[in-house]
Amino acid sequence: MPKTLTIVLMSGYQENEDALFAVGLARAVLKAGHRVNMFLFGNAVNMANKEKPIKGHVRISERLKSHQDTGKVGPELDELAGMGAQIATCHTNEYGRGTEAEDYRSGVQWGDVGETVIRFLLTTNVLLSIRH
């Protein structure tokens, strides 16, 4: 019988591998026929928005750029949403980072702790909070 996994992800993709793990696990869980909710919290909210081209001179080397880009999981969040995952971000955490009201990726929805997380929890069988 299908179950629902809710992942609360608290790290951004540049800090550690938690985002990569969350995406890999979510994809496998969806493929197995279960449902997935994902709530982006803390620095994970930085993955919620559409990427904007950097204005001005970019000083990063190609090698370092390639390394940084490896962990970018934004497009994978869109893919997960296309597979049926519900992905929402915390607007309060976005406000604290100056990104509230920026355009969201197609797979990510506005969210908050008071309503979105509660809505997720009401249908959750397995809760996994991933933090460092």
Partner: protein, 93 residues
């Protein structure tokens, strides 16, 4: 109980003991947590009551870790039943 270990931390063994209480937990090593898959650390985990030690295949592939033969290597597909069915709760300490 399944404990998701995603980092190395000097207080980890104490934290596991505190979280597990009377239970004998299983452990899933991911990210830098796979460094706890050595013979030395698996013995330490066993000594505080940890039963099964699973280690993430994709995370092992990016690190040179000499894994204990007491660890079970699992891919994402094999983590699904561990997290969704076989354990009542999964905690990331």
């Amino acid at each position: 109980m399944l404990l998701l270990i995603n980092k190395t931390n000097p207080g980890l063994l104490q934290r596991i003991s505190r979280l597990a209480g009377d239970e004998d937990p299983d452990v899933l090593l991911v990210g830098d947590g796979v460094f706890y898959g050595s013979d030395f650390m698996v013995e330490k985990l066993r000594a505080i009551g940890v039963e099964e030690v699973y280690a993430s295949k994709p995370c092992l592939e990016t690190r040179q870790v000499k894994l204990s033969d007491k660890c079970v290597v699992v891919g994402y597909d094999e983590m699904v039943p561990l997290i969704m069915d076989e354990h009542e709760k999964t905690i990331c300490p």
